[in-house]
């Protein structure tokens, strides 16, 4: 806690999220244990932020309760978050949809494990559809950030809150079991004090902090029974999603300038593909990598641009092929888009994915 902000430390991705949350002025964390992300709640309980920043940390009775606690805290304009892994995040979908409908900011972290069902505790990326296409009911989207390092686990905790409050929406960090469990160097974000109640009243005039004489009552709700009004709410939400698509696309390109073939991968798979690019280059193959950092909004335009000058793409995922659909949408048939994936918690090696590229594209 007393560490200087530029100090490099070694920790797990899960621990980085916990420390980053405290440091960025998070007001409340509500969570339920599930492998492979229980270290987040454990770390918070260990460092006892309620004694320093006043942040509330509470182990809820379920993921359903956790996300609704985030709803309640967010309704008060507070920075609040929950973290879980795939089966738990499935349970949260109702609450996420309610938050989207009620236009509430909050952060949800999914440290993905293999499914379907109880599946496995090993890493997976098979919740891509759930995270990026709406998961819960109704027409909504939310910013989805895909960290590929422990550093990004810390950085994106801060960024996810910024996006959530900027666009009044839940925001998700979509990590996987490896990013959560892996230890790496990290520079934690500097300490930002929690906002005072006056600041919240100013910045979130909609927050339910108690009705004062100078304003009408505030109410947080996603209910509107009049069809015309409900459509207006939907149009407002859609307009906001278009804004997010316009402003918030983030991606990283590695050696795409002269590439003939491009890996498309996020999170852990991007790390594996980065190594595969190195090996390919040593062999004289012009291979690059585009790593979507935001999965919503998706870098369709950049992939479309790249499709003008490359011979093919291969989407590599720890799933049966989910993101590949977005790559195909972006490429729109101009060049081949192939897919390689493993499931059940298996992480393919760099050699394995490079071999897949050679087999499918060369």
């Amino acid at each position: 806690m007393s560490r200087k902000s530029d100090e490099v430390t070694l920790m797990k991705g899960n621990e980085a999220i916990a420390h980053a949350a405290v440091r960025c002025g998070c007001d409340g964390y509500f969570g339920y244990p599930i492998t492979p992300q229980s270290e987040i709640l454990e770390t918070l309980m260990e460092i006892e932020p309620w004694k320093t920043t006043g942040m509330v940390v509470l182990q809820a009775e379920s993921e359903v309760a956790s996300i609704n606690m985030v709803y309640g805290a967010a309704g008060c304009g507070k920075k609040s978050m929950t973290t879980s892994s795939s089966p738990g995040v499935s349970l949260m979908q109702e609450g996420i949809s309610y938050m989207a409908g009620a236009e509430l900011p909050g952060v949800i972290v999914n440290v993905m494990r293999g499914g379907p069902g109880l599946g496995t505790i090993q890493p997976s990326q098979a919740d891509y559809f759930q995270a990026t296409k709406g998961g819960g009911h109704g027409d909504y989207r939310m910013p989805v950030l895909a960290p590929a390092s422990v550093q990004e686990m810390a950085d994106f905790t801060v960024l996810a809150f910024d996006l959530a409050f900027k666009y009044l929406t839940p925001a998700m960090i979509l990590a996987d079991g490896i990013i959560g469990q892996m230890m790496e160097k990290v520079v934690l974000p500097p300490f930002t004090p929690r906002r005072s109640e006056e600041e919240i009243r100013r910045e979130c005039p909609w927050a339910t902090l108690g009705k004062t004489q100078d304003r009408n009552p505030n109410y947080i709700s996603s209910l509107e029974l009049r069809s015309e009004e409900m459509e207006k709410i939907n149009l407002r939400l859609q307009k906001r999603y278009r804004e997010i698509e316009k402003n918030e696309v983030r991606y990283e390109e590695i050696q795409c300038e002269d590439a003939d073939f491009i890996f498309v991968a996020f999170g852990t798979m991007a790390r594996v593909c980065q190594k595969a690019v190195e090996i390919a280059r040593e062999e004289g193959l012009k291979v690059g990598l585009i790593r979507p950092i935001t999965l919503f909004p998706y870098p369709y335009n950049r992939i479309a641009e790249l499709s003008e000058k490359v011979k093919g793409f291969i989407s590599v995922e720890m799933s049966a092929g989910q993101m590949v659909e977005d790559v195909r949408l972006a490429v729109s048939g101009k060049v081949p888009v192939e897919f390689y994936g493993r499931m059940g918690g298996i992480v393919p090696s760099p050699e394995e994915v490079l071999n897949a590229l050679k087999t499918k594209l060369l």
């Binding site: 609450g95 339910t208 902090l209 009408n216 709700s221």
Partner: protein
């Protein structure tokens, strides 16, 4: 005495609480919700805590409670009001936080959230409207529906062998260490309205004394769901509901 005398402030004997606004209520004639809303408004006004009170509305007929009482409200997902209220109270410990839930919300879909918020001893108030039926969706069987009682999903009457027993949430919650006050009241007579008001006020006061959770169950009528006139509903409630859901305090740690 003419009208002018009657409305002379000196002769005023009753005034509607200013916390309750003039929005026409959607509740059916004979429904208990309106009376309980009024009591909440009166208590909030008398305690002068309008700026310190946050209500959490349920899914059910009470979903629109925020339209009628001029306080800050959050409308929770079905059954999740205790989780929402937990977070509000933990983050704003100097506010009065209450949930307003029906028996479908509190005793069926939200049973886990209710029990755990109570068990944790959250300093919140549960206003629990128990009319033994799902009112908003048109009169289906609730966990609290009495044996033999007819509903649209128990049209021949609730068969305990088939559909289980009536769930007495107050009797269950009183055993939890995090709960300081459990009482069962009604609002169908002048005397019962007054007793309910005292009970709700006590619960509000307890919530600021770090004593834990308070549950004020209000056994209520649902004339539409029960398919009875408001007057018949009151009689039926006394004759059938009260023997199962007995009036009075079940727990009070003073």
């Amino acid at each position: 005495m003419n009208v002018k005398d009657i409305i002379n402030p000196a002769n005023l004997v009753y005034e509607k609480t200013t916390v309750m606004n003039d929005t026409p209520m959607h509740y059916c004639p004979g429904c208990s919700h309106g009376v309980v809303h009024k009591l909440l408004g009166e208590i909030i006004q008398e305690m002068d805590i309008q700026d310190k009170t946050i209500g959490v509305a349920p899914v059910g007929c009470g979903v629109f409670a925020y339209k009628y009482l001029d306080i800050d409200w959050q409308q929770a997902a079905h059954g999740r009001a205790p989780a929402v209220a937990t977070a509000i109270k933990r983050l704003l410990p100097d506010r009065y936080v209450f949930t307003y839930q029906g028996d479908g919300d509190l005793a069926a879909i939200g049973t886990a959230e209710t029990i755990h918020a109570c068990s944790r001893g959250e300093n919140i108030v549960f206003i629990y409207i128990n009319n033994g039926i799902y009112g908003m969706t048109g009169g289906q069987m609730a966990p609290t529906t009495l044996p033999g009682m007819k509903s649209t999903t128990s049209p021949k009457g609730r068969d305990e062998k088939l559909e289980g027993h009536s769930l007495d949430m107050s009797k269950l919650l009183m055993h939890l260490d995090g709960v300081c006050y459990v009482t069962r009241q009604s609002v169908h007579t002048v005397a019962s309205v007054r007793k309910t008001k005292r009970a709700i006020r006590k619960a509000f006061e307890y919530s600021m004394m770090n004593k834990g959770a308070s549950v004020v169950e209000i056994v209520s009528t649902c004339s539409s769901g029960w398919r009875m006139s408001p007057a018949d509903s009151n009689t039926w409630m006394e004759e059938h509901m009260f023997p199962v859901y007995a009036m009075g305090d079940l727990k009070d740690i003073e």
